[in-house]
């Protein structure tokens, strides 16, 4: 069994793969983190607010 057929078995065919992607990226419970991941582009990460605030607490 190839990796692709394994994924098909678990997630479904091409017809619904985009639905799975939508769900993973746009639905599901949100747990805030220290770094917010970005979808595409050169900037892969955006430093979240809490990380910035933690930085401000450190020595100058």
């Amino acid at each position: 069994m190839t990796a692709d057929t394994d994924l098909d078995r678990l997630l479904g065919s091409d017809a619904t793969l985009v639905d799975v992607l939508d769900r993973v990226l746009e639905r599901g419970v949100v747990v805030s983190g220290d770094v917010v991941l970005s979808v595409a582009g050169v900037d892969l990460v955006h430093v979240g607010l809490r990380l910035s605030l933690r930085g401000l607490d450190g020595p100058l």
């Binding site: 769900r23 993973v24 419970v29 991941l37």
Partner: protein, 222 residues
Amino acid sequence: MILLYGLARDVPTVSRPGVEDAEVRVVRVAGWWAVLSEHGHAPGRDREAALAHAAVSTEVALETAFLPVRLRAAHQDRASLASELEREQQRLAAAFDACAHGLEWLLRLPASSAPSPRPDETASGGPGTTYLLQRAAQERSSAVARDHDLARIAAAARPLQRLAEASRDATTARGVERCLLVPRARLAEARAAAEIAQRELPTLTLGGPWAPWSFADTEPAP
């Protein structure tokens, strides 16, 4: 960095690799069994990452009650993750109780083309009034088409709907969809019912069973 896939109450087993082929671990955090992977950097949020995240989440959801977490953020370390889970304990527990015992099924039809509404010839007003009347007619027409499509889905998928504890309807660019939350314990029945729906209505796109993402759609309070 830590990437969280979801939360369980009973310890799950995970056989597949996670995002960027990282090992997926099951770790006790803040009273939960957290399904996570650890990375030397913040992983990207691209198609491959999303598929890996989805596959891990669905594998666990098929095995045990599981609250899927959206692929959106990473945590600095386990202490940071624990702190966040403790802070959000109430919201996460409520979401878990609402949907973690179920699996999500998708039923979708391509949107019917709504007939173009005729301008109201009795309207007495300027172009603005005519435009507003046309827009109102279009919206009514779209709502009728949507209700019609949902009724077709309901008729074809009656056996699957009977198994469902909750449903959510949505209109997307791909059509009109109904998501159903069906208890994991009824998976075999749901598979058989889904096959019936597909036979009844061949244009129906059927998805699932997946982790219950559409029913776990909650964000932290602002």
